[in-house]
């Protein structure tokens, strides 16, 4: 028992240090370093601001904050999925040399991308407050939505990372699935635009629920749909458990894959 706990501590320590090392390495690669974690989304958001607010001048009021909230949440999920898919495959060299629990690799990736996401989130909040929105009581629900999204992301990343080593071609499909998901997840549109007949399907997409929850909190100051979030959270936890089992099932097979 104490040995198991000891192993758990050892790997947790390793995961945290590797996350730190990866982030640090990323900042060392450029002159501006970690400032890029702020500048890049800033540039990205400016494009949308210029296009929708200044050029299009389209009718929907408050479209820019609406869109930026969607994009921020979406980017977090997207970067985790597209990078995370390759984590176990990419650790091939390392796993030939030493035994490491393979589930470590997707966890490290999700952590690094989450740290970067927090910079963007901070920027989004500053933008929203500058735009005229204020902090309401419903902000208390924000951590819950963040945790639900984190769990949901982890579940998906574990499955992808588990399968990609066997089907490396999947990587090309993932990008396109992500593009399709982008259009179906309410990043750019409001739910009530979706025709009545499809509403049910539209709202069975967890990403829609998550993104709308952020908007409820940050723009409309209403409480998000708690029961829907709870269900997503529970399903995600089950998904994480299954994904971990799947990766563990192939623990000794992955090192035999020849890339």
């Amino acid at each position: 028992m104490t040995q198991k706990l000891d192993t758990l501590f050892r790997y947790s320590e390793l995961i945290i240090y590797k996350t730190y090392a990866d982030l640090k390495a990323e900042t060392e690669r450029t002159y501006l370093g970690f400032l890029w974690w702020i500048f890049e989304p800033l540039l990205y958001m400016s494009v949308f601001y210029v296009f929708f607010e200044l050029l299009l001048k389209q009718g929907t009021p408050n479209y820019v904050p609406f869109l930026l909230i969607g994009l921020t949440a979406w980017q977090w999920l997207k970067s985790c999925l597209s990078h995370g898919a390759e984590t176990i495959l990419g650790a091939y060299g390392l796993m030939q040399q030493v035994f490491l629990p393979k589930v470590m690799f997707p966890i490290i990736l999700v952590l690094t991308d989450t740290v970067k996401f927090f910079f963007i989130l901070a920027l989004l909040l500053i933008f929203l407050w500058g735009y005229g929105y204020s902090v309401g009581i419903t902000y208390l629900a924000l951590p819950v939505v963040l945790i639900v999204q984190l769990l949901f992301t982890m579940a998906l990343v574990f499955f992808l990372a588990a399968i990609v080593p066997f089907l490396p071609d999947l990587r090309f499909v993932v990008e396109n699935i992500l593009l399709a998901l982008f259009f179906m997840s309410g990043v750019m549109i409001r739910g009530d635009i979706v025709p009545e007949a499809y509403q049910q399907y539209y709202y069975s997409n967890p990403i829609v629920i998550i993104i709308e929850s952020y908007r409820d909190i940050l723009m409309y100051n209403v409480w998000p749909n708690g029961s829907a979030l709870l269900i997503i959270g529970i399903i995600s936890l089950i998904g994480i458990w299954l994904g971990t089992r799947l990766i563990a099932r192939f623990e000794y097979i992955y090192p035999k894959i020849m890339v």
Binding site: A21, K24, E28, L94, Q97
Partner: protein, 234 residues
């Protein structure tokens, strides 16, 4: 050699295969197919054989990285690791950070690596360079750091695949020397090589592997004699 020694690892008719497609699909091909021997506490066991007889795959199984596909492999509760140089090194990080990361990947705790840092810096002769990114190092300096870190990791059983000394001529001698001291000490070591001279020098006992099968096991002299006879016939 003492007669009553504790068995630490035991292999009985073990075999391990890869598959033709990506290593996991299609027809299997055996990297090694029938290997049996025991490893005893404190000895240095040499494994000799020509290239491509499955020696590296065998070490990987002994290190617990893969599992055998046939036969039985028992580890009686010891920590086994492969001597790996520059494990997980990241180009943009400093020597110190890479030492910590590499040491942790090899199974040390962070505080253990930190307590060994002075020894690492001293042995690698890096001095103040330790806090520079390794991207600025010469390949010799990276090799020195890699060896110094790996040497600090002290598993119960150390598996060595061919390499003893690394780096430029001078450091290569120095590293080979400490490695040989370690091998001569009371550590349990498995040393894989196709260099009969080294095996003869370093090992108490030798297993000869041919075509994935453990052919002969015993005193270095007699096993190597048979191995040479075979090579001349082959």
């Amino acid at each position: 050699m003492k007669s009553k020694q504790q068995t630490v690892l035991s292999l009985h008719n073990t075999g391990s295969f890869y598959k033709r497609k990506r290593g996991v699909f299609g027809e299997p091909f055996w990297a090694f197919k029938d290997i049996s021997f025991d490893l005893y506490q404190g000895e240095t066991l040499g494994i000799i054989g020509r290239n491509g007889v499955g020696k590296s795959t065998l070490l990987r199984m002994m290190a617990g990285i893969t599992k055998p596909n046939k036969g039985t492999f028992v580890n009686y509760g010891y920590q086994v690791s492969l001597l790996s140089l520059q494990l997980g090194f990241i180009h943009y990080l400093s020597g110190r950070e890479n030492a910590v990361l590499s040491g942790m990947l090899m199974g040390l705790r962070k505080k253990e690596v930190k307590s060994k840092m002075d020894a690492i810096i001293e042995f690698s002769e890096l001095g103040d360079f330790i806090d520079q990114p390794i991207a600025t190092y010469s390949s010799g300096m990276v090799a020195r750091l890699g060896f110094s870190v790996a040497f600090q990791v002290d598993p119960d059983i150390l598996l060595i695949d061919e390499v003893l000394g690394v780096g430029d001529a001078e450091f290569s001698q120095k590293s080979a020397k400490v490695m040989q001291d370690k091998i001569h000490s009371n550590k349990t070591i498995v040393f894989v090589s196709h260099n009969a001279v080294l095996i003869q020098q370093l090992c108490n006992r030798v297993v000869w592997i041919e075509e994935g099968i453990s052919r002969v096991e015993g005193e270095p002299e007699s096993v190597l004699k048979e191995y040479h006879q075979f090579l001349h016939l082959a």
